[in-house]
Symmetry: C2
Subunit: 492 residues, 2 copies
């Protein structure tokens, strides 16, 4: 297996694209901007889905499914939301093809099969869902509605990149309706926290929780909570958002309930989502020049065993020992694969599993059988240990926990080293250009300043951190008064 | 809870539509032909998905994800397949909306954002997947490819019915590629058997395995295997299909591999799928005039406990006992709900859970506490038993198994009573009109006769059963020679 992976230092972006394809995560398809998620990549996404789905259900949510299409009149009902997505949506206008009389075997759109009303392929489902909620909510007893959907959505992005920005992507979108404003805000914050827990405990990615500025807010929301992560190239990545929608969609779709006094009131809404974009974050946070590095909690294969042998007899004896070991690991719910292919040499296998980011590799040869030992290699540190057969199961089981923690700590350390406080625009530009990462700076709170800084530097305000300290200061750009710092960065 | 469910005898079709909506399975949406799958219905679908997914993985398949859109030129590559789906597909022609200058707040399709090539919303994914497989297959070592996808698909049906026929539906589609014809046929048969196992052991629906006639075959397949079920109104329902695709798609998309001698050969393909249509089959096989009847293996709630009380003190004492009981059931992985709502009376709760098809209901009141007993009611038979607290857990656990088996047996008995052998066209018409069910008859093997019978009676050949007996006979319609019987029925 020849890797020929571009090094991160040479060209981070190229390294990422190559790695995603070579590690069998995804590839571009024959459809502009749409990707194929390959089995190995999809297996990681399935592990993410399973954990998130469990967390959503534990917080009281149920799954449901709403239509892929949104009729144009429904799409435009919430004006800000419509405006936000109108410029990048796929539109169905016809429902039939017919034979092209002039070119046998070819088809053309049948002009007689034009839809009366165009259908938008959902870029997000607030419109279709709130038009449904109108029929589901009559009284306070019907609230809260706590619903999630796993679905595909389409946004007609012009410049796409595997996982990070694709015309079609997979995601989950939670849509809830509540009797009170306080409850809806609580829900938005709760789901932001669920996302943060997931990112940190499963993806081993530290995140900063914060609020988006008005400019960066979701179209149709009153407030957008987000979790922001930092990639190894110093660019930020928005890993999840949770929106407090106020009564905007309730008013657009006339969703009212009778409160306990029998008075009609509009309900309060939230929506929240994470997508296959998380796959990009996972790759970019941990991986290295040798390939993927996967946190054990999300690795489809946590441990791989490679036999080293010359003769059939050796192979047989090794396989016997390995089969016994496999059974012990499986009892502990450790996902393990015995790479017993006879078509490939050990060196090829080592490189392949390194590229694919399997956290722990066990090698075993005739010498090991004699000594009663195994060679255990860590993918993250590329270090090896010899471990006795008596200790191997406990050792590897503990090692998986250690790797999970170490990856998280390493990412925290990197991030800590890449949050820089600056107090002037000169300093801001200098850090942005020469170091990257999050820049903590005072800002005057106006969209105008935000826009100018973005225009001049390409840096955006990633969030107003929830835990920021009240602190009097002056905006690095305008010099106007500020009461606390915000985080800027260049971002994916 | 007022049910007011139309009786099956009065109007089976109306009964079905009402039941699906009233039991909170699904409802029509504001989008023509598309349904909303409500949380309770989706929970059943999730249980189906989980079992099927496990079965697919146990038979060596991996999940992946391919694009929603198929460019027209790719869509038309396999001509028969294209022809089969061209008349009912949703077509994306534009990628942007813009403000309607004449009507503020309204949007129109931007004529400047016309796609160079139209995109078909996948009605099935052979085209997009085989165009991808071309890049994945070089040598025999890359085969077999055993891949499944969980996805939404769109077929522009003119007359739709919840679950049974909707413009958008959810399904899984397996797509495999093999080195030899024999292997591909084996795969098609294997997956038909997986579907049959699932239908019988989880859905409690007996199915007949067979082959479709040429007329009823999937567009682009060489052979279509199917499982056919019988609904309570005597109509058949195709519950799953598995197609042997020959080399049709391999040739259309130029998917070749180098065999062990280094010679280039086309690969052999299969595809197979089941959809949310199974939800319709589930409802129509077991439910009755009181509502849903769910087989325990797919019921989101297997047991519901309803407390009967007048005072807070009674409620408290009952709840204490119930909580202890719940813990014991949960240990056995029995899905149980304690309906401790104080806003509804027991009678309302009984009717609601009956409507929703919860297999077992336990009621407990002050008298039961005194006697150390519970009242256990079966949803399928509507019978009740008094069970002591010592026996309750074992009793209910066994009862769930019994109900699962009884539902299956009841469905088998119904089907056995509704397979009728006929030997003349007069008899055929008589049985079809007065009894319904499967009609086993001799057919001359020609599409012409098949077509005429369909035209005259609306009955179609559901399948040529795999286990049919060789038997000389005469076609009931043409009198021509036949070597075995096929199964006719009116069908969903």
């Amino acid at each position: 297996m020849s890797k020929n992976l571009t090094k991160r230092e040479e060209d981070y972006s190229k390294w990422y694209n190559e790695l995603v394809v070579k590690a069998d995560l995804a590839e571009n398809s024959g459809v502009r901007g749409c990707m194929v998620i390959k089995p190995y990549g999809y297996a990681i996404w399935e592990k993410m889905q399973a954990e998130l789905d469990r967390m959503f259900k534990e917080t009281g949510h149920s799954n449901a499914y709403f239509p892929l299409f949104v009729p144009k009149s429904m799409f435009e009902a919430e004006e800000k939301n419509a405006e936000g997505f109108a410029k990048e949506c796929a539109i169905v206008t016809h429902y039939r093809l017919k034979n092209d009389e002039t070119r046998p075997g070819k088809l053309i759109v049948d002009p007689n099969a034009k839809l009366e009303e165009e259908l938008i392929v959902r870029p997000t489902s607030e419109a279709i869902i709130w038009s449904t909620y109108k029929g589901w909510v009559q009284s306070y007893r019907d609230l809260p509605l706590l619903i999630n959907q796993w679905a595909n959505v389409v946004r007609w992005e012009m410049r796409t990149r595997l996982f990070l920005r694709t015309a079609e992507f997979l995601w989950q979108e939670g849509h809830t309706a509540h009797a009170t404003k306080a409850e809806a805000i609580e829900e938005s914050e709760k789901m932001m926290n669920v996302y943060a827990d997931f990112a940190e405990n499963f993806m081993a990615i530290p995140v900063i929780k914060g609020l988006k500025t008005e400019t960066e807010r979701f179209a149709g929301a009153e407030e957008t909570y987000c979790i922001e992560a930092l990639m190894q190239d110093g660019k930020a990545l928005q890993a999840g958002t949770s929106h407090f929608l106020g009564q905007n969609f309730a008013k657009a779709f006339d969703v009212k309930y009778a409160n306990q006094e029998g008075k009609q009131e509009y309900v309060w809404g939230t929506s929240w989502g994470v997508s296959t974009r998380l796959m990009g974050a996972l790759v970019m946070t941990h991986s290295d020049d040798n390939g993927l590095v996967l946190p054990p909690n999300l690795a489809p294969i946590q441990v791989v065993i490679v036999p080293i042998f010359k003769t059939d007899d050796e192979f047989e004896k090794i396989s016997e020992v390995v089969n016994g070991l496999m059974a012990q690991f499986k009892k502990l719910n450790i996902s393990i694969r015995y790479d017993n292919r006879t078509t490939q040499k050990p060196g090829f296998k080592f490189a392949e599993w390194e590229l694919k980011g399997v956290p722990v590799r066990i090698a075993v040869g005739p010498k090991d059988l004699e000594n009663g030992t195994f060679e255990v290699a860590r993918r993250d540190t590329l270090t090896k240990e010899v471990v006795s057969k008596e200790e191997i199961v406990t050792y590897v089981s503990d090692l998986l926990d250690t790797i999970q923690k170490d990856l998280f700590q390493k990412a925290i350390d990197y991030r800590t080293a890449h949050i820089t406080e600056v107090n002037s625009f000169e300093e801001f530009k200098d850090v942005l250009e020469n170091k990257g990462g999050f820049i903590s700076a005072h800002w005057d709170g106006t969209p105008e300043t935000e826009e100018k800084i973005k225009y001049l530097t390409k840096a955006t305000i990633r969030c107003i951190p929830l835990d920021r300290v009240e602190e009097d200061g002056k905006c690095i750009f305008s010099g106007a008064k500020s009461t606390g710092r915000v985080l800027f960065a260049k971002a994916y």
